[in-house]
């Protein structure tokens, strides 16, 4: 896949992720304001989808660069994904120590 093909694909993934997340957040926001205490699940689904969207974009880049045998960028994007994972793990370990 060419670079601009990857760009279009990434753009599409980001748009889908942010749309799904926004719909969940809108529904959850209205529900939680109408009946306080309700609908935290869908709000959290919206937030998790939002957070996972850039991570999905990184995974997609790794796959595309691997298929294209562009090893420099496969390595760079893999390092970025590892950094995200390290951050998440560190957050859980750190949280438990508090």
């Amino acid at each position: 896949m060419s670079d601009s093909g990857l760009e279009v694909l990434i753009g599409r993934v980001l748009r889908i992720g942010v749309t799904v997340s926004s719909v969940c957040l809108a529904v959850g926001l209205v529900a939680s304001l109408v009946a306080p205490g309700a609908a935290p699940t869908i709000l959290n689904v919206g937030i998790v989808v939002l957070i996972l969207t850039p991570a999905a974009r990184v995974v997609l880049s790794i796959v595309e660069y691997t298929v294209a045998r562009d090893w420099t960028f496969t390595l760079l994007t893999t390092i970025v994904l590892l950094e995200l994972v390290v951050g998440a793990v560190a957050a859980f370990v750190f949280h438990r120590r508090l």
């Binding site: 942010v18 926001l29 560190a90």
Partner: protein
């Protein structure tokens, strides 16, 4: 901490829309405006303000990137190289933020935005553009059609270590203070690394999604990302960045830079004064 009533949710939504439109036009995310609004005006602790702001930064980044993907303004390859540095900085910043006092973070916010405002004013006349469209942009440089001048603009990336260092610091400050980090990257990439302002802004908007993700996970796990307030802010920022994205190609570069500097200077003074008190 304020209770998120329907009235407060509406205020947060409007604040998000204002911050998001400015952030999208300037390519720096809405965080630099939203954090002071949530912290100084609405009374949320700075950690909660930073968490909410980082979540809106992700939404802005996804929306702006989706809107610009396929145009050549956004330099994907260069952005992905810099993400290695910015994500590392972001993870460290998110963890450090948990250990610092609110007043310390407010003073830091004031200093960072103040320095960036001065740097932006000092370099507002520079364009850093190779005007010959046949010139080679190199491996990481780029080429795009500029709507303002109607010309094809070619640029080459200079001072790669500086770009990486600035990205690391931007990621760090981003997670620490809840801003996109574009306030640091855009002036550095534009002023010293050879990128035209619009290309630097688009590429920064692309990178801040990953930067903010690395940081927001830490706040989320610590329970600082209030779902209802975050939802109101994110939806407001979404609306604002949609409007900003539509308006930005028609705005002149010099005006953008001075607008950026003016707003940053005001934010810097407000946050610093609150931190000192």
């Amino acid at each position: 901490m304020p209770v998120v009533t329907p009235a407060l949710a509406l205020v947060i939504f409007v604040a998000g829309a204002a911050a998001g439109s400015l952030g999208a036009v300037l390519g720096i995310g809405g965080g630099v405006f939203l954090v002071p609004l949530l912290n100084l005006v609405l009374g949320f602790p700075i950690g909660v303000a930073a968490a909410i702001s980082l979540a809106t930064v992700i939404a802005t980044s996804s929306t702006v990137t989706a809107g610009k993907a396929g145009q050549h303004l956004l330099n994907f390859r260069f952005g992905m190289v810099l993400e290695v540095a910015t994500a590392a900085g972001s993870v460290l910043g998110g963890l450090t933020a948990q250990m610092l006092a609110q007043a310390t973070l407010q003073k830091l916010f004031g200093v960072v935005t103040g320095v960036v405002a001065l740097a932006t004013i000092a370099r507002s006349g520079r364009r850093n553009v190779i005007l010959d469209p046949r010139a080679a942009p190199g491996i990481l440089g780029g080429r795009f059609h500029d709507e303002e001048s109607g010309q094809t603009i070619v640029y080459r990336i200079k001072r790669m270590p500086l770009a990486l260092g600035a990205s690391f610091i931007a990621g760090n400050v981003s997670s620490l203070l809840g801003i996109g980090g574009g306030v640091i990257k855009v002036p550095v990439l534009n002023g010293w690394c050879g990128m035209p302002l619009r290309a630097a802004a688009a590429t920064s908007a692309f990178m801040i999604g990953v930067t903010a993700t690395a940081g927001v996970i830490i706040y989320y796990v610590n329970g600082q990302l209030l779902p209802t307030a975050a939802a109101a802010a994110i939806l407001g920022v979404q609306l604002g960045s949609f409007v900003g994205l539509k308006a930005s190609p028609r705005m002149p570069v010099k005006m953008l830079k001075l607008l950026l500097a003016g707003v940053l200077a005001a934010v810097a003074v407000l946050m610093f004064v609150r931190g000192v008190r």
